[in-house]
Symmetry: C2
């Protein structure tokens, strides 16, 4: 299906020289988020633009996007839509270039039998939002100034091709045409329905909107499975890094996974040669970078089941190498062998059991394990053996976590 | 919903004194398989019997089954059905006590709006089978002697309560009434539909039928994930053991999992004290018993997601303990530490990766690992170090398996 993004607005309220669709949110231009989500779902993307910076950026960044120049942006977004009439090939999605849409918008698209407005009960700035009044299954009124309304227009539309016959009529009589004007015409013939989307969205008009959206989206990158160290420390560092990495296509999520793994291996080598402090810091850096692959994948709509498995397996190998290196660095004895066996089996069993039970470990998630290894490494300044004891504790608590997960699973059934 | 099992047949063709429903298939009476599958799906089970052995057995084995005595079994199975009229509470399933039904029969039950015969294109003994002729969605004829037919009657029916008004009429005019007679009456009013089941079923009438079913069901217990040792050796021993264990309720699948685990731990203890041959044999016995928990769970319709997780976690712990014990028994050195780390991480990683990728390991499934450990243990007669080298090989090939699974997953996407 085709998807049309309107990017020829003239809004000046942001107070910068950068065209609004190119303003960065989580490191990517607002319009790029929408384009990536559409391309991930195999839409053919059409962008109507006025400022040449937008066309230049999109040409550089994507291939296969259809760019249509709007010489008269002052005629408003309904006129922009009019310009794509000869380019779309049937039903299509219509989206705004200054909106950020949550993932569910793109997952929820169904075939509708008439033009359909995706609406929401929620909005960040109710004053500025376009309101929608419905009756039964029909949209009966739309506009910014409505006093009596049911939903907010999210700026996401499923359009039937017949919308153009209505636009044709309007174009003949008016200079300025808004999307709302078109919807109103359609609604007179009961040709507009609505669909309530259960996800967040942002219309970015001001610097304040941008700040609110950025904060919200950053929080949204923190997974509910995150352990205490990840939530309070690692994410605070990994998210700013990811916001830079997303600008460069070379940093695919899988490459970042590999980088984090390699830092883990280097950390292990330093443990082997007993450079504990450096090794411990590298382990913690590896743990932080380990957050970036998932963040970049989510920001760039590149999540894949392979990526998740690749990450999980390499994480385990880095853990095993680091822990084996620590134990081996303390020489060979019954004690080090037992700690080695406990720590290695614990670190993999915790992930395996968590994967099977779909439960989270209470104590020894990976962020906590690697953080404790760093702490143990730093403590070698006081007493060389403290790192070995730390490894022992990590091993013991990992197995306690495994047993807890089994019991919680048993209780849940 | 209610489920009625007719168990008052008088068939003598088996040539034993045991009533046919009590003849054992995979260690359990034929009727018990059906009852367990029904109870697992929360049906209220009603059994119509004539021979007191049946009632005695079912009373001893199950509580909450409704037993209805049929004093006139010679009036055939339609009359047996007549006797449950005042006991069923609406629509019900009707099943035969001398049939073995595959699991899908019970999974596929839907609400039908008229009495429905579950039919199949396949049958073991076409001559003895009841045939069904259909037209459109209606059953138009049924009987053993039909020359022109479309399906075989599997002896599994979804009955609407109105079936009893047809039986009432027949009872007034005939002494003997078969299910087919009743279906024919219903079909005159277009009150019978059919549903094609995609699973196997057996009507056990002769010793030959029993042999065929037993062979088929035994093969069916072998999982497609089974490794080469399991398929060719372990299952040949575990299945006969399971057929005995199913007779005793104390041997729940989880208890058998625990027994197999404990034998593994005892094996590990013997490895620690360098009783390699005994330890190796115990490891292999543990591996064989490890097959029984799943077999018993399948035979007794007791499979559970907790049981699968419990088994998987305990298997990993037994593996880790056995492998750590072997490595430690060879003293403490860089070599034994590396082999320890390789083997422990390999054995858990293989299961973890297999679980995530949904792929099977090519070389080192658990049956193969434990079998090779036994071989290595026996080889200590020739050279004490051969077991350590075997452990090294198991570790290396486990990791090769992990890498292969990752690449196969990558290719599959």
């Amino acid at each position: 299906m085709d998807a049309v993004i309107l990017a020829s607005g003239l809004s000046k309220r942001m107070g910068t020289n950068i065209p609004k669709p190119l303003i960065r949110l989580l490191g990517l231009p607002i319009i790029e988020h929408t384009i990536r989500k559409l391309l991930a779902k195999n839409y053919r993307v059409i962008v109507v633009y006025h400022k040449k910076e937008i066309a230049n950026y999109l040409r550089k960044r994507f291939s296969g996007i259809i760019l249509i120049y709007n010489p008269e942006p002052e005629r408003e977004n309904g006129y922009s839509l009019y310009l794509v009439k000869d380019h779309v090939r049937g039903d299509f999605l219509l989206l705004m270039s200054d909106h950020y849409y949550g993932d569910k918008f793109f997952e929820d698209v169904k075939r509708h039998n008439r033009t359909t407005i995706y609406v929401s009960k929620f909005v960040h700035d109710a004053e500025e939002a376009t309101k929608v009044k419905v009756r039964g299954e029909d949209v009966i009124n739309i506009g910014k100034g409505l006093k009596d309304y049911d939903y907010y227009d999210t700026g996401f539309f499923y359009c039937k091709y017949d919308i153009f016959s209505y636009i044709d009529k309007l174009v003949k009589t008016r200079y300025k045409i808004s999307i709302s004007d078109i919807i109103l015409e359609l609604s007179k013939d009961k040709r507009v329905g609505y669909y309530v989307v259960e996800d967040f969205w942002f219309d970015i008009d001001t610097k304040d909107d941008l700040r609110v959206a950025e904060k919200f989206l950053e929080r949204n990158l923190i997974k509910k499975e995150d352990g205490i160290v990840s939530r309070n420390l690692n994410r605070k560092i990994s998210i700013p890094i990811s916001k830079i990495l997303v600008r460069y296509d070379v940093f695919t999520p899988n490459l970042i996974t590999l980088l984090s793994f390699m830092i883990g291996i280097i950390s292990g080598v330093f443990f082997l040669v007993k450079k504990y402090i450096l090794a411990g810091i590298l382990a913690q850096i590896s743990s932080i970078i380990d957050g970036c692959d998932g963040e970049v994948a989510r920001i760039k709509a590149m999540r894949s089941s392979f990526g998740a498995i690749f990450d999980a397996v390499l994480d385990r190998y880095a853990d095993v190498f680091i822990m084996a290196s620590i134990a081996i660095s303390y020489g060979f004895s019954l004690l080090t062998s037992i700690i080695l066996a406990l720590a290695i089996s614990g670190t993999i069993m915790i992930s395996y059991t968590s994967h099977m039970t779909k439960l989270r470990p209470k104590f020894m998630s990976r962020d906590v394990r690697l953080f404790l290894i760093m702490i143990g490494s730093l403590l070698t300044i006081l007493n060389k053996n403290l790192l070995l004891y730390m490894l022992f504790l990590i091993g013991i608590f990992s197995h306690i976590d495994v047993i807890f997960m089994i019991f919680r699973k048993k209780k849940a059934i």
